[in-house]
Symmetry: C2
Subunit: 322 residues, 2 copies
């Protein structure tokens, strides 16, 4: 019996225990996702049949906009309505990652004690490049834990956030007034990825102006590629104000999407993209194993670097032997 099969048994066992509500099993599976690249596919394979039922809410925006507090308050409101909630908090500034399912975020203490809440924080250390994969698979694990809603919170506005937000059914973009560079953020395209725009810290000066500007910009169609008009909501997460209205807007967006079939189309497109990436990586792995490219590759790369082999010709010849 090879190591691979022992590991597969172990994963299968963890998935079974996870499905009976064992939180330690959930935590171990996520840690495996983060640390063991080779186990990811088997984990994804075993949980696949149990996924697809959670509604995924993405929450993004510049650092300091109060996303974490907003996430907490939304989670608490969902809990009041008896929903099971998963939270994946992606914070590139944090060295903490893993083992956080019991809540490494102090402010989340009360949520972390709730058996119907699953929390995982993810720092970027360690899985550079693979972070969005880790996040995605963690969301699927929470999905397989029968969470009704999964909140995915990310700091920043870069490509990795855009990638992560692709898996969300509803995406919130959180901005704050008086941040100085609201307009820069808006120019940088952050609005494009949002379904709902949230002006948080609405007790601050300039909140109404920022909200008006966001509405106006949409009227004039300056920053949009399609014709959706995104609702703009004011919240003060710290004071728990505007959270119910926000949840209502999310539910309205959900209904609107499900009626228009966009919900399923979006999820299917996402699935298709995911499968293509997986297929490509597995194919090249197979090619490398079969033709022992791994052993030769260093030499080939050197010759390419010295312009003695043209890499484009080499790739063509590789593909031709398949």
């Amino acid at each position: 019996v090879s190591v691979k099969y022992v590991q597969q048994d172990q994963i299968y066992d963890l998935v079974v225990r996870m499905r009976t509500g064992n939180r330690r099993a959930v935590s171990r599976l996520i840690t495996m996702v983060e640390n063991e690249n080779t186990l990811r596919i088997d984990i994804a394979r075993y949980i696949y049949p149990y996924t697809g039922n959670s509604y995924i809410i993405g929450i993004t925006g510049p650092p300091g906009s109060g996303k974490s507090t907003l996430t907490d308050k939304l989670a608490k409101l969902l809990r009041k309505q008896g929903k099971r909630v998963g939270i994946v908090a992606v914070d590139p500034s944090s060295p903490f990652s893993g083992g956080a399912i019991l809540g490494d975020r102090i402010r989340m203490n009360d949520l972390a004690l709730d058996d119907e809440v699953f929390i995982r924080s993810m720092g970027t250390r360690g899985h550079l490049g693979g972070l969005s994969e880790s996040v995605e698979l963690t969301v699927k694990i929470f999905d397989a834990c029968n969470c009704d809603y999964i909140l995915v919170e990310t700091v920043g506005v870069g490509q990795s956030e855009v990638d992560i937000m692709k898996m969300a059914d509803t995406t919130l973009v959180v901005l704050v007034p008086g941040y100085g560079d609201d307009i820069q953020m808006i120019k940088a395209g952050i609005l494009e990825i949002g379904d709902i725009l949230v002006v948080n810290k609405a007790d601050r000066d300039g909140a109404d102006q920022l909200a008006s500007m966001l509405n106006m910009m949409q009227q004039y169609g300056e920053s949009r590629e399609n014709s959706r008009v995104r609702p703009v909501l004011l919240t003060s997460a710290y004071e728990n104000k505007g959270i119910e209205e926000l949840l209502n807007a999310i539910l309205a967006h959900r209904e609107q999407r499900q009626v228009s079939d966009y919900y399923h189309l979006n999820r299917m497109n996402h699935l298709r993209a995911e499968i293509m990436v997986m297929l490509q990586s597995e194919l090249s792995k197979r090619l490398f194993e079969r033709y022992h490219f791994d052993q030769e590759l260093d030499g080939i790369i050197s010759e390419m670097y010295e312009r003695r082999i043209n890499p484009y010709d080499w790739v063509e010849s590789c593909v031709n032997i398949v």
Copy 2:
């Protein structure tokens, strides 16, 4: 004679004209890179033998930090030293892309009139997902135009910037004092990708404090994964102050890298990553052509979506038929 071969002839012809210094040919090649995904590989293939000689300087930082002015001033200084310079300006907030080799940036007018300077601005519209590929290939085209230095300037601090900066030999991270969220930017990991940290707009209050903080953070090793200590320089690009010192720091970094072989290793690693991506995408293209997956894929995705096919099993079976 198929369309494909006509296009290959045309590309070959453009590359020949580009090599004789024809600027229109350069411009047309870049426009092809941006608009015609299918021609990219042939363009890359034909120019490959002429690439590898330019030194690539990446310039990144938050919006509003004065990167563009800094890029201009660096370019002008390099021109004074008789160097041929390429500039690729990536600005996700700009709708302008293409045709900009003659300078769509007003402030660059004097540079644009210089025959020894190649400028291209790239907005994100149109090639979402493929932007970093377009940038990379444009850099290679400028490389094949015998540019001594290529300056790649990007707005933002997200994953796409990190990807783009991977091709740089020396990366500058530009910050400004009084930006409000310096610390947030620093926390977000922007320093990690820099080889040289630049405090621009150094005439502003707080410049010295920001520089001290950047130095201190490095002493305490709080934000670093390796032990390089990054030089921190003060500039005032608008007043053309500190630019010579900055260029000297870049040249010192270049020498240090070339002595330590890191320069070649970094470039070879980058080449390897590039080849792997290309190989993967060509392999799956071939598989799709041969087994006519394209026609079946919609149905397969639907069945996966309904959890009747497990995508991980399907991928395994695809790979097994190869």
